[in-house]
């Protein structure tokens, strides 16, 4: 079962894994990490060329306490538990987190009336630290807020986090524990064979005794390949603006909208990279790949921004993104095993999946055990990886005199806006889960994510990336990692 740990090379074409996890987003990576902490061989099967390249890469990057979840749901329980697990994991691995707190702001009577009920809901969810505040206190907390705020509710433990580093830490950790990462393996079919399942993928067959479906936007498709028909994913597009770092002093806390009968509004939040984010929109689509931004989305966000914080709009927009959330026609997370198929669905994980990921993995492990997967924890596990720091709250390599003295590559800043050094780009190209293209490099280093968007550094960053890949001298076209 654990032959790979004795050093024998595996052959993904013929070997039968104990578990194949489909989808290397936050949830899939957390699951692979959890399961490979046991005496199991695990494959993490991802359709795209990188981990965290789907719905996990473009969310609002908030580490939620779960104060506003629906009490009694699985989601409520797992977000609350995940908050603590991820906070501790972030501490251990160096995932950037800033405990900025959040402030829900009421702009009319209806919203003001909702606040006390939200406080009660938070308490029903086990979160006791919310406080109702008046308009004066709202403006003391966020002086740049537009006129007309009537009151607010504080959530002091809401935090901002780096979603990219979270996904990468989990995937790196999983790999170090022995998980085999199979990129560019899009699952196109499923075959039940004697004693195992064969996943037909765009890069060949992958065999496993158990299959966990954490395919996010594609989870309902995979579920149907197993013969089920229990839910449909509707891609819900959320567009976001990222404002210049010079706007950061305007926003020291997460400014949340109050959910009402008219739906959810948009939020303004600091980012761990030192920017300010405005969004998201919410628009149901049918195309599961459409991450374009739209004119209507731009207009909507600019209109909201004008009301929420007019001064913010005087600052430059550094980037606009659109992410797709995997909304489903079901009110809660769907974590359901089919023991006779040795199959587990982990579906309907909405944007809260970033906060809940580690708790979802823990919960899913229990469900798998109940369904008959033999689980024996390994005695010794490698330490969690120490991730490069992308956050502004802690020291970055360009600021570290000792580091630069030992290796001048950390003193050579290549991306000026984000202060990314040659050393960091080199490291990202040779990391255990390496950057393979410019987008991968952006998520591992922040290179080219700044206000100039490549005006100064774009060509230099691309040249460095090409050089490091040539250094590698390996053809990674089949997407399989080599140890």
């Amino acid at each position: 079962m654990s032959a790979h740990r004795s050093g024998r090379a595996r052959n993904p074409r013929t070997d039968v894994y104990d578990v194949a996890v489909v989808g290397a987003g936050i949830v899939g990576a957390a699951l692979a990490r959890e399961l490979s902490g046991h005496e199991l061989t695990v494959a993490l099967v991802e359709a795209r060329a990188d981990v965290g390249d789907g719905t996990s890469k473009a969310n609002t990057a908030i580490l939620h306490t779960g104060f506003d979840a629906e009490p009694g749901t699985l989601e409520s329980r797992l977000v609350a538990r995940g908050y603590h697990l991820l906070s501790a994991y972030a501490e251990a691995t160096g995932i950037p987190v800033e405990r900025t707190g959040a402030l829900l702001v009421a702009w009319d009577r209806e919203e003001l009336g909702v606040l006390p009920r939200l406080k009660e809901k938070a308490e029903a969810n086990g979160y006791q630290h919310c406080r109702l505040v008046d308009a004066d206190e709202v403006y003391r907390a966020v002086p740049a807020l537009g006129e007309g705020a009537l009151g607010g509710l504080t959530v002091p433990d809401e935090s901002v986090i780096c979603t990219w580093t979270t996904n990468l830490a989990l995937a790196t950790d999983a790999r170090r524990r022995g998980t085999e990462l199979l990129l560019r393996h899009a699952v196109t079919g499923v075959r039940r064979d004697d004693g195992h399942t064969t996943l037909l993928t765009t890069a060949g067959d992958v065999r496993a005794r158990w299959v966990v479906n954490a395919a996010g936007l594609g989870a309902d498709h995979i579920d149907r390949l197993f013969g089920h028909d229990r839910f449909t994913v509707t891609p819900r597009r959320g567009e976001l603006f990222v404002f210049d770092k010079l706007a950061r002093p305007l926003v020291d806390t997460i400014v949340l909208p109050v959910p009402t009968s008219r739906g959810k509004g948009v939020l303004i939040a600091p980012t761990v990279y030192g920017n300010v984010m405005l969004g998201p929109t919410a628009e149901d689509l049918t195309d599961r790949t459409d991450t374009a931004t739209s004119e209507s989305g731009h207009d909507f966000l600019l209109g909201k921004g004008e009301r929420l914080m007019p001064r913010l709009l005087a600052e430059e927009i550094t980037a606009s993104y659109a992410g797709l959330r995997a909304a489903i026609d079901h009110g809660d997370y769907l974590v359901e095993a089919t023991p006779e198929q040795r199959y587990l669905l982990v579906g309907g994980i909405r944007s809260t999946g970033l906060s809940a990921g580690l708790a979802i993995a823990e919960h899913a492990r229990g469900v798998l055990a109940g369904a008959g997967l033999p689980l024996r924890a390994r005695d010794r596990l490698p330490d969690p990886p120490r991730m490069p720091n992308l956050g502004e709250a802690a020291e970055r390599p360009y600021q570290n005199a000792g580091l630069i003295a030992r290796d001048p590559a950390y003193g050579t800043i290549v991306c000026f806006c984000e202060r990314v050094t040659e050393g960091e780009i080199r490291d990202a190209c040779h990391a255990p889960v390496p950057a393979r293209d410019l987008d991968g490099l952006r998520r591992r280093t922040r290179a080219m994510n700044g206000r100039c968007q490549g005006f100064f550094c774009g060509a230099a960053v691309e040249a460095l990336r090409a050089r490091h890949h040539a250094d590698d001298g390996r053809d990674r076209a089949d997407g399989r990692d080599e140890d």
Partner: protein
């Protein structure tokens, strides 16, 4: 861990080794201003001309005609020969206190505490997101800066068919670069009713580049998932939209000063240029900190930036020799169709601005502009200039028009008579 060496203490720190910074450093060093240190975050000194590989550089400052890269090398040579020290790959990352900056370079993390500082950090083009153009986010979307870096410094291929957004002087420079890289500039998209920039260049562009220009138009969407396939453009008057096939889009012009260090110091900015507010001696609001080049007028040509450098050097020398800052002075304000004027403050006893010119930016085309200068309800000067005010390039006005201004009066408004006849 973070043991710091003692700060460097040059007499003058010049931040930015483009035409303005290098020329300032050469002049300062030549006039014996002590230790003049220029820092630049790029691999090589020279600024934008390093990758602006067309001729026409150096006309006003050197009285000769050079290509961009040759011009950059020449300015580096002049500064070095005069005795200035240039440190490249060295980035000022912020202010440690009012007089001291934090620096990162391959030789370490350290501080510099000069007696005077010249900010010459230049300007950048607004990228696509800052222009709020929605759509897909495919490869093949550049600014001119990135394009010219790719082609001239890194010799990388670009696409085969390009749309150029903007009709400024730099837009034609982008067209030349595309041509050189084997990419056909298929269309230039400009919001103005006519292609801006020098008429001669435009005519040359039309004949040499055979580049059609969609005037009164804007890009409303970028299309293409992996590689750019097309852009959607809209006619501003009719609202009609069409898609134009292309695998490359270059967002040109629409400059914004690289003002991060100025803002980080709490230096006052001009709301028009978004660069530091400066007087005719190029002082900023922070004593001992000066600014020059396209940081304060986004953007004029490289040679004009260089001559700013020569001008600021003399003022820095005055400052180092203990000349006190003159009295407050009056504010110069741009009136429509002008978007900004630089410099923005006229103090008693101060020198005329660099080259004896005020620089302005117009939003509409005026063939025979009748410039008026008004103060406290009185017309101080009115003069019809022989050159047009055209969007996409700096409009230069002789500073002599300010001769009748009272430096103790109210704000001075610079506008045009009958401005409405423009466009």
């Amino acid at each position: 861990m973070n043991h710091r060496p003692a700060p460097l203490t040059p007499d003058v720190l010049v931040i930015g080794a483009g035409p303005a910074g290098l020329t300032a450093a050469a002049e300062l060093a030549r006039r014996g201003s002590g230790h003049v240190l220029v820092v630049d975050r790029e691999q090589r000194a020279g600024g934008i001309p390093r990758h602006s590989d067309h001729t026409g550089h150096g006309v006003r400052d050197l009285r000769r005609v050079l290509s961009g890269p040759a011009y950059a090398r020449h300015l580096v040579g002049l500064a070095t020969a005069a005795g200035a020290e240039i440190r490249t790959r060295t980035m000022v990352t912020g202010w440690a206190d009012d007089d001291t900056v934090d620096v990162t370079g391959p030789d370490g993390r350290y501080r510099i505490r000069p007696r005077a500082t010249v900010l010459a950090t230049g300007a950048r083009e607004r990228p696509r997101a800052a222009r709020r153009v929605p759509g897909d986010r495919p490869d093949g979307v550049y600014t001119t800066g990135q394009l010219q870096n790719l082609v001239h410094l890194h010799h990388r291929p670009v696409g085969t068919r390009a749309v150029i957004v903007g009709g400024e002087l730099v837009s034609w420079s982008a067209a030349l670069t595309l041509r050189e890289a084997g990419c056909t500039p298929a269309l230039m998209v400009s919001q103005y009713p006519r292609a801006e920039s020098y008429a001669a260049f435009t005519a040359a562009g039309r004949t040499l580049l055979r580049l059609p220009v969609a005037t009164r138009s804007r890009v409303t969407r970028v299309i293409g998932t992996d590689r750019c396939r097309a852009v959607e453009i809209e006619h501003l008057d009719t609202g009609r939209r069409r898609t134009v096939a292309c695998d490359t889009v270059v967002f040109t012009g629409d400059w914004i000063p690289d003002h991060e260090l100025a803002r980080g110091a709490g230096i006052d900015l001009d709301p028009g240029t978004l660069g530091p507010l400066t007087d005719t001696a190029l002082r900023t609001s922070r004593p001992g900190v000066f600014a020059a080049g396209n940081l304060i007028h986004p953007v004029d040509t490289a040679d004009v930036a260089a001559l700013d450098g020569r001008h600021v050097a003399r003022q820095v020398i005055d400052h180092l020799s203990g000349r006190p800052r003159p009295a407050e002075g009056v504010r110069l304000l741009a009136e429509a169709p002008f978007r900004w004027v630089a410099p923005q403050i006229l103090r008693p006893t101060d020198p005329a601005p660099a080259r004896g010119r005020l620089l302005l930016w117009t939003d509409s085309f005026v063939r025979l502009p009748k410039v008026t200068v008004r103060q406290d309800g009185r017309t101080v000067a009115r003069r019809t200039l022989a050159w047009p005010a055209a969007p996409g390039r700096v409009f230069r006005v002789p500073a002599g028009l300010l001769d009748g201004v009272s430096t103790t009066g109210g704000p001075v408004r610079i506008g045009l008579d009958g401005a409405r006849s423009g466009a």
